[in-house]
Amino acid sequence: MQQKPFYIIGIGVAFSPNLKANIHEAARFSLLFQAKLILIHVGKKSQEKTQQIEEILKPFITQNLSYELVFKTGDPVDVILSTSKEKNVDLLILGALQRENFVKYYVGSIARKITRKANCSILLMIKPSIERIPCKHIVVNGLQNQKTKQVISSAFYVGHHLDAEKITIVEEIRQQEVAINVDDDKSLRKANIKKERLEMRETNRVKKIVEEIPEDYLKEIVIKTQPIFGKRGYSIGHYAQMVRADLLVMNAPGKITFWDRLFPHDIEHILTELPTDVLIIQ
């Protein structure tokens, strides 16, 4: 499979109330994936800060966590992006607020800005916790795209390492594909037959992808497919929130302009109102 394993994990560190929880989550991830953790702080290096971070990392250091602290001044977005490039970070972990206020959304917050520009995979965490909350249910985007194969296999890779119990592959089918307006009984019947066909086609496509995934990763994971009809990007977030998924795995967006933010689509919908922790696979 062509998924990139996570060798180096980066995290942006800010001295916020969530500091401890964020670092705990990142350190746990690094241990699970046996990766090196890079902590990036935008600001001047000081004894005090280093001490504080190392104090938090203590329980993980005893478990042989390899880590590195990076201090750099400058624009937060640029610093984090350039550092993660420099250090060849495979996965960048960012804490994010579930929903941002109005002005911030259109101007763009740091976490979201990074998401839009980053070249590595990104994990947006909305509810980091100090104690480990098991990741039981992963929802992954299975819409037809050249990246889908990679996204699905990454989801299984992550799911396997996190001991997830269930992975739901959601196929979003656009309403336009049905292309039948429901007026009366006759058109309703037609539309439903068309829908069933589309669902079958999508399920078959996803099945083929799953067949190629190494068996090790499939062990002890319940696989479910769920076709939904709705707006791309938005509906899957809604679904993930509804089934109370612990992680939503999406593919990375193409280039995003200001207009995409005004008229959001695909991943932008997810960024507007993060339904749960989101992993964006590059």
Partner: protein, 765 residues
């Protein structure tokens, strides 16, 4: 889910029923058409033209099944106002001015027909969903008051009055001639009735009042033979007989003042040859287009609401193609306009009468038009013998139904803020205009929603988001799950509706609002409609996730407020106390409170076209296999609506039996037989066959089921209406509540019948 093939054979088989139903509807359509047209300041024949063109066009091109089309009551105010406006502009006097004004309005009607068709082509059948239901209620009530204001004076033979004016100093509240002026002038007219100098006027007023009495009390008389002719038709027939009595028996002129008789009913030939000269000269003025837009808006709202309501009554559970209907209605309106008729809309009262009389496809609408043509061709001279006040009585009744205190009471029970929306819409509609009224109603609703949620951004941020997710759950086969986020109100209800409309009504649906912060009354009401529709068609529709909202006292919209509150104080009537005693005596369980769980009755043929409200005063044995209860149900809609309370008995059986309906043979059944219903004969029991009327689909199974024992049982017992739905029996005698003695008798009858049926099974085994 394969479609039933509709063959020509099926069509021919149901044709007699549809002809019969079309005939009954035409009996109502005739007086209503005349009355509505006259209240609209149009020539009376215009109403008939509208119904005929509507019936012919929509029955061929339309997309709904059991609806009836014709002149609608909600347009009366707009058309009348527009006619008078252009009459004064024409610079002519009297009749000529009104005629000229009407010719201009015909042009507006034609334009609105074109707009209506465009709405249909643009698939804007969902338009009516963008208005909050309290605002629509307010608008309808205002229309009711406008109709009342216009027709009450004529009913009391005081045509042409300007009402009264009210002013405090320089501030004029309302002036003479305005709707409010006319409304508050009604008491003055009533007082004036007792002092007419001209006895002709007094007779006219008496005709009007008698007409109103017939309209009010007629539905209360539940006599099969009287009910064959609907109330409005009696209002037509009785005065015609009266005038013939004067002419031929007393040899005197009709005492009713000639100016209060219907005039200028043209004969059939002149309608076709003398087409009106439609006046398009105002087509460039904004006032003209504001009338066109109002006509289109009101016509489409009335039609859409009617189609939705009638779909619920359709015994064959079909779904109407709303947009196709809009196109057909638009085309019919254009045609009607060129021939001198009014806007063609789908009308609720006549449609429900159609369903109740066995109309099953569009041909009923066609025949209703056909019979109207026949009436005009044969009886156009007789129609001039109808006094105007009697016809206006029908409209007064209609107006009252639209604006009755019950409407206000119902809205108040939903919430005080709904009452604010209702009254703002109502008053603005009366004082300024329909469009202004409904727009302000929408605006008020919006403001109230903002205040209640104390949040602007909830609405602004999420308005354009696709907030509804629907998917078919994969694991437990075929559950549709609909989840709604953020808020759901009249602003974005169409998104939810679009999703819900793609679900066949015989499926299971769960609508989840747990992620939704705010749900308004319009949505709750519409969901309730969906719920009823799904239940009727064998599906299941459940709304979940509102419990959190329910605990919040600031959320008064939800329907759960109506949940029956257990009656803690024993406040039973004497009848209830006797029933309670009877329950003790017979070892039965008695429950006096209302029970909304009436699904077990919905399979019965009798309730196919009726809406069951609730049961109460229920007597049941321990395992509820025998139940005796009072039942409230309604048939018909709007002015044809009748709420009926009756005592019935329900007996559930262990073994399946064929579906059948058994009743006493009588005159009515002979009529029905004529219209295509078939009595199933039982061999060797001619007496039984003569005395009883037996009906059912599976003729052979029924014939073998009615063996000697069963036939003897029915022959030797009192007559009851007995109906089987395959697994249970429904037994009652009359469509009214029974007294204690009757309850005992029916209980005994039902028990013995059950025994006979069970013994039969044992013998067979």
């Amino acid at each position: 889910m394969s479609p039933k093939k509709k063959t020509i054979k099926d069509f021919l088989k149901t044709l007699p029923k549809n002809i019969f139903s079309g005939f009954v509807v035409s009996l109502i359509a005739l007086p209503l058409g005349l009355g509505l047209a006259m209240a609209s300041e149009a020539p009376p024949i215009a109403g008939i033209i509208t119904a005929v063109i509507g019936g012919l066009t929509v029955s061929i091109l339309g997309g709904s099944n059991v609806t009836i089309t014709g002149p609608g009551n909600s347009l009366v105010g707009v058309v009348a106002g527009a006619v008078l406006f252009y009459a004064t502009q024409s610079g002519l006097e009297g009749e000529l001015a009104t005629q000229q004004g009407y010719f201009v309005v015909l042009a507006a009607i034609i334009c609105s027909g074109i707009l209506l068709s465009i709405l249909g082509f643009l698939r804007l059948g969902k338009l009516a969903n963008f208005f909050p239901s309290s605002a629509i209620q307010g608008m309808l009530a205002a229309i009711g008051l406008i109709i009342l204001a216009k027709s009450t004076h004529t009913m009391l033979a005081n045509q042409g009055t300007k009402g009264i004016s009210l002013a405090f100093g320089n501030v004029t509240i309302f002036e003479e001639g305005s709707v409010l002026g006319l409304l508050f002038g009604i008491p003055k007219t009533i007082i004036g009735v007792f002092s007419y100098d001209n006895p002709g006027l007094t007779y006219a007023a008496i005709a009007g009042v008698l007409g109103l009495i017939i309209m009010v009390f007629y539905p209360k008389i539940r006599n099969k033979y009287l009910q064959l002719i609907p109330a409005p038709m009696w209002i037509v027939i009785l005065p015609i007989l009266f005038s013939y009595y004067y002419e031929f028996v007393l040899q005197q002129p009709n005492p009713i003042d000639p100016s209060y008789m219907i005039s200028n009913i043209p004969d059939f030939n002149s309608i076709v040859t003398n087409l009106p000269t439609v006046d398009f000269s105002h087509i460039t003025s904004p006032a003209f287009w504001s009338i066109v837009v109002t006509l289109t808006l009101i016509a489409s709202i009335e039609s859409l609401l009617s189609i939705k309501a009638v779909d619920k009554l359709d015994p064959e559970k079909r779904r109407s193609s709303v947009n196709r209907d809009l196109k057909a209605l638009g085309l019919a309106t254009v045609g009607s306009g060129f021939l001198g008729g009014l806007n063609v809309v789908t009308v609720i009262a006549r449609s429900s009468v159609n369903v109740n009389n066995g109309g099953s496809n569009r041909s009923a609408n066609f025949f209703h038009a056909f019979f109207l043509v026949l009436f005009i061709a044969l009886f156009s001279t007789q129609l001039t013998r109808i006094p105007l006040p009697a016809l206006m009585a029908i409209l007064v009744f209609t107006g009252y139904k639209l604006a009755s205190p019950n409407v206000v009471k119902k809205i108040f029970s939903i919430g005080k803020e709904q009452l604010i929306i209702f009254f703002i819409t109502l008053l603005v509609t009366l004082k300024i205009g329909l469009i202004e009224g409904i727009l302000l109603g929408v605006f008020t609703t919006l403001i109230i929603h903002l205040i209640i949620n104390k949040s602007f951004s909830l609405f602004f941020r999420n308005l354009l988001k696709p907030n509804v997710l629907m998917f078919k759950e994969q694991e437990n086969e075929g559950n549709y799950y609909v989840s709604v986020k953020h808020f759901c109100s009249f602003l974005n209800f169409f998104k939810l509706k679009n999703k819900l409309d793609t679900i066949p009504e015989n499926q299971d649906v769960i609508v989840d609002f747990s992620m939704c912060e705010f749900v308004d009354h319009t949505v709750m009401e519409n969901l309730n409609n969906y719920q009823e529709l799904f239940e009727k068609r064998g599906g299941h529709f459940e709304v979940i996730g509102l419990d959190m909202h329910g605990t919040d006292s600031e959320h008064p919209f939800a329907l759960r407020r109506i949940l029956p509150i257990p009656n803690l104080l024993s406040n039973l009537t004497r009848r209830q106390k006797t029933i309670e005693e009877l329950a003790l005596d017979y070892n039965l369980n008695y429950e006096s409170n209302k029970n909304k769980n009436v699904h077990f009755l919905e399979d019965f043929l009798f309730f196919r076209t009726k809406k069951i409200n609730h049961t109460y005063n229920q007597l049941a044995d321990d395992n509820s296999s025998i139940r005796l209860f009072d039942l409230e149900f309604s048939e018909g809609e709007f002015i044809a609506k009748e709420v009926v309370r009756a005592t019935m008995m329900y007996v559930s059986l262990q073994e399946g039996i064929p579906e059948f309906t058994l009743d006493r043979e009588g005159f009515l059944e002979k009529v029905y037989a004529f219209a295509g219903f078939e009595d199933i004969p039982i061999d060797n029991h001619t007496d039984f066959s003569n005395r009883f009327y037996l009906l059912g689909e599976d003729k052979l199974a029924i014939q073998s089921f009615f063996n000697d024992d069963l036939v003897h049982f029915f022959e030797s017992n009192p007559y009851y209406h007995v109906e089987s739905n395959g697994k249970a029996l429904l037994i009652f005698r009359k469509e009214r509540l029974s007294n204690i003695k009757e309850i005992k008798v029916v209980f005994d009858f039902g028990k013995r019948l059950k025994n006979v049926l069970q013994v039969e099974k044992v013998v067979k085994l």
